[in-house]
């Protein structure tokens, strides 16, 4: 079936790439399904109920929340991006729609983005050269859209040593390039 289809990562490879520069490890993630989940007008209560039963966390503004099957980060008022394991949720919207029915608008986002997990010590020194987000002073679980070298990306601070980036898939190479040259300049 669909698995007969050969997929290419955003970097144009068969498998996800990992780049190590000094203390930094930049890993492309290719195993996460993504969908946008938005409340339909006037459905907030039912929507919240559905989310609770389905175990879909609905974190407040500027934050990320991990869950059993589904994790989520806030995108815009009344809209979240929902993460799930790709292998089991290739068609993530097909999983979510029955759970929310008419209370939500749900849209496939998986392949709109390239995801890089950036790990290592001294992430602040790296990211202060990439975005205007004040990484050190922000709590773990902080999630926000920001800009890196003209590219709009979502940044999630998972911990002091791990940052998740979602960037536009069509510019995956450019985003990686920006991460690499900057990392090289400070090691």
């Amino acid at each position: 079936m669909a698995n007969a289809w050969k997929s290419l990562t955003a970097l144009g490879q068969d498998t996800a790439q990992v780049v190590a520069i000094g203390p930094y490890q930049i890993s492309e993630r290719f195993d996460v399904a993504l969908a946008s989940l938005a409340v339909r007008r006037g459905q907030n209560a039912a929507f919240a109920m559905a989310a609770q039963t389905a175990g879909v966390p609905l974190p407040p503004a500027s934050s990320f929340a991990a869950g059993e099957v589904f994790s989520a980060f806030w995108v815009t008022p009344e809209m979240w991006f929902i993460e799930a394991d790709f292998a089991s949720h290739q068609d993530i919207t097909a999983h979510l729609k029955p759970l929310f029915g008419d209370t939500a608008s749900i849209t496939e986002q998986t392949d709109a983005w390239v995801r890089f997990d950036v790990a290592g010590t001294g992430l602040a020194a790296l990211f202060e050269r990439l975005t205007n987000i004040d990484l050190v002073s922000l709590p773990d679980g902080f999630a926000s859209r920001t800009v890196i070298e003209h590219l709009g990306v979502y940044l999630i601070k998972r911990s002091a040593t791990e940052v998740v980036l979602y960037g536009p898939r069509s510019s995956a190479l450019g985003l990686l390039h920006a991460l690499q040259v900057t990392a090289k300049s400070i090691i």
Partner: protein, 94 residues
Amino acid sequence: MIINHPILGPRDAQEFVYLGDANLMGRPDGMTAGIEAFHDYLYNRDNPAGAHRELWYHEQGDRSWLVVTRNTVTHEILKVEMARDVARAGGRSK
């Protein structure tokens, strides 16, 4: 400039796209208002030297449209509101 987003807190104005005078929220109804009304709505401006209510869109952020009250002489920002709330308060609906 720094815009103190009602939901997200201080954000660099670089993340925003500027539209202009917040009076643009007061779009007349096309089925009742005529060319004159639309002309005044779309083209004429108070353009004050001082406090100015204006529309900013957080394009590289949370996609919210904001109404920012800003002094056009000092650039001091006096107030920031969610445009949707202001629009509803102003009686806009569907």
